[in-house]
C-alpha cells in the first residue's frame, strides 16, 4: 500500500510540474478523444430522463422562481431606461440583447456550435466537455458562449472534443466592464458557483441591475461585449481597496446543452 501511495504522490507531483503540453496532459487528451463519443451517446440517451427530472423539480421551485423573475423584470426595466439615454448606451444594450449579432464579434471570428456531453462529477471543478474540437478549428483559450451569454473558455482540446472551464469555476477569470458607466474589473467564479466582479475601484459608481460584459481589453482572451450577467449586489468596506460586487450570470450552468465556441 505504501508503494502505491508514494506512486500516487509522484504522479500528482509530476502532473502539476509538467506543462500543459506534457505527457500526462497529452495522455488525458488522448483518452478524452476515446471517451467523448461515449459521453455524447449517454448524454443524448439520458436527456429525456434529465428533462423529466428538471421539469418535476421545476414544479416545486416555480413559486420562488416566479418571484425572482418579477424582480429581475423590474431590474431589467430600470436598466433599459438608462440604456436608452444615449446612443452609445443603446449600442451596448443591443449587444446584450443580440449576442450573435455580427457587431459583437469582430470580422474573421467564427462560431462553432457544439453540444455539452459531460460535466465534472465533483463539486470542486466547474467544467464541461463539448463534442467539438480542433477538427472544427477549436483551440485552447477560445471563448465559449450560448444564447444567454458567456459560458467559459476552452482549457483543453482534442480532435473531436474540448474541455470548457465555466466562468463559475473558482480558477476562472474574465476581464469585464459594467454597462453603463464603464467600471472595469475582473469576473471570478467560486467553488459555490457564485460569480463576483472584483478589483472595481471604490470611486466607481456601480448599481444593482447594471449589466456586466466582457471588456475585450488588450491581452484579454474574450472579445468585447459578450454578456456575463447582471449586478446583484454591491458591497464596500472601508478597509478594502475595492468594491465587492456579486454578479448573477445570464447563463444557467445547470442546464447547459448547446454552446458556441468563438473561434479566432
Amino acid at each position: 500500500m505504501a508503494a502505491l501511495l508514494l506512486l500516487s504522490v509522484a504522479m500528482l507531483t509530476f502532473y502539476f510540474r509538467e506543462s500543459e503540453s506534457g505527457p500526462a496532459h497529452g495522455l488525458q487528451s488522448g483518452v478524452l478523444q476515446v471517451v467523448a463519443p461515449l459521453q455524447k451517446g449517454t448524454a443524448v440517451a439520458t436527456k429525456p430522463l434529465r428533462d423529466a427530472w428538471n421539469w418535476t423539480s421545476g414544479v416545486f421551485t416555480a413559486n420562488s422562481e416566479n418571484s425572482d423573475l418579477r424582480k429581475e423584470v423590474e431590474q431589467l426595466r430600470a436598466g433599459l431606461a438608462n440604456e436608452l439615454a444615449t446612443q452609445a448606451e443603446n449600442d451596448e444594450l443591443r449587444a446584450l440583447a443580440q449576442l450573435q449579432d455580427d457587431k459583437i464579434f469582430p470580422k474573421g471570428v467564427q462560431l462553432v456550435t457544439g453540444r455539452v456531453v459531460a460535466r465534472s462529477t465533483t463539486a470542486w471543478y466547474s467544467t464541461v466537455t463539448i463534442d467539438v474540437g480542433s477538427d472544427r478549428g477549436v483551440s485552447e483559450y477560445d471563448a465559449v458562449v450560448n444564447g444567454s451569454g458567456l459560458v467559459g473558455r476552452v482549457t483543453s482540446v482534442t480532435g473531436g472534443a474540448a474541455q470548457v472551464t465555466l466562468i463559475s469555476d473558482q480558477q476562472s477569470y474574465a476581464d469585464a466592464v459594467v454597462m453603463p458607466g464603464g467600471a472595469q474589473g475582473i469576473v471570478t467564479g467560486s467553488v459555490t458557483g457564485d460569480v463576483t466582479l472584483g478589483y472595481v475601484d471604490k470611486n466607481e459608481k456601480v448599481k444593482v441591475g447594471q449589466y456586466v460584459v466582457t471588456s475585450g481589453r488588450t491581452g484579454s482572451i474574450f472579445v468585447r461585449g459578450i454578456p456575463i450577467g447582471v449586478v446583484e449586489s454591491v458591497g464596500s468596506q472601508e478597509v478594502e481597496l475595492y468594491q465587492s460586487i456579486s454578479v448573477k450570470p445570464f447563463v444557467d450552468f445547470r442546464k447547459l446543452n448547446i454552446v458556441q465556441v468563438v473561434v479566432r
Binding site: 500500500m1 500528482l12 462529477t121
Partner: protein, 186 residues
C-alpha cells in the same frame, strides 16, 4: 478489527488466477465507463454518483486489502485521466479506501449484509474529506458549510443507496451465480 497486517496474513495471501484478473479488469473498465460516461449525466440531490468509488469498495470487500488497494489505484488513475482531473489524486484516495475496506472485510463479520452500505458510507466520508483537504492544499477554496451541505451529505446518501445493488452485481461478476444462491440460502 485490525488495520495492520500480521506475518500470517502476508504469508497466506495468494496471487489471483488469470481468470480472476480478467474479471477484475472487466470490473475496472466498467468502473471507468460508468464514472466517465454515465455519472456526469446523473445528478441527484445535487451530487453525481461515484460509481468508481463504490466499485472499489465492492472489490475490496470481496477480494481483500491488497487487491482492493491495487484496484483502487488503477480505478483512480483511469477516472482522473478520462475526466481531465489531476492524475494521482484519485489514485491516492482510492488506494486508502481499497486497502482499509479490504482490511475491514478480512477481519469483520460480513454476514449481516449491511457491510456494503456501511463500507460505502465510510468510504465516501473518507474520500470526501481527503478530496477537500487536497483542494485546500491546492489552494482552492473549501468553505466548510458548502462542503458539508453540497458535497458530503448528498454524496453519502447517494453512494450508500447505490452500494447495495452495485455490490450484488459485482459479487455476481467476481464470484459467479452460485455464490448468490448460497447467499440467499443463508
Amino acid at each position: 478489527m485490525r488495520f495492520t497486517r500480521t506475518r500470517e496474513d502476508r504469508e497466506g495471501w495468494q496471487w489471483p488466477s488469470a481468470a480472476e484478473i480478467a474479471r477484475l479488469v472487466v470490473a475496472l473498465l466498467a468502473a471507468g465507463l460508468l464514472q466517465t460516461a454515465i455519472a456526469p449525466n446523473i445528478r441527484i440531490l445535487g451530487a453525481n454518483p461515484d460509481f468508481a468509488l463504490i466499485i472499489v469498495v465492492c472489490v475490496a470487500l470481496l477480494r481483500g486489502a491488497e487487491i482492493g488497494a491495487v484496484f483502487g489505484f488503477l480505478a483512480g488513475s483511469l477516472v482522473a485521466t478520462a475526466l481531465m482531473e489531476p492524475i494521482g489524486l484519485g489514485a491516492f484516495i482510492f488506494v486508502i479506501v481499497g486497502y482499509f475496506v479490504g482490511r475491514y472485510a478480512e477481519t469483520a463479520d460480513l454476514s449481516a449484509g449491511l457491510a456494503p452500505l456501511v463500507s460505502a458510507f465510510a468510504a465516501t466520508l473518507i474520500a470526501s474529506v481527503l478530496y477537500a483537504v487536497a483542494q485546500d492544499l491546492l489552494e482552492r477554496q473549501v468553505p466548510f458549510g458548502f462542503f458539508v451541505v453540497r458535497v458530503l451529505v448528498p454524496s453519502l446518501i447517494l453512494n450508500t443507496l447505490l452500494a447495495g445493488p452495485i455490490y450484488v452485481v459485482v459479487r455476481f461478476w467476481l464470484r459467479g451465480a452460485g455464490d448468490l444462491r448460497v447467499a440467499r440460502a443463508r
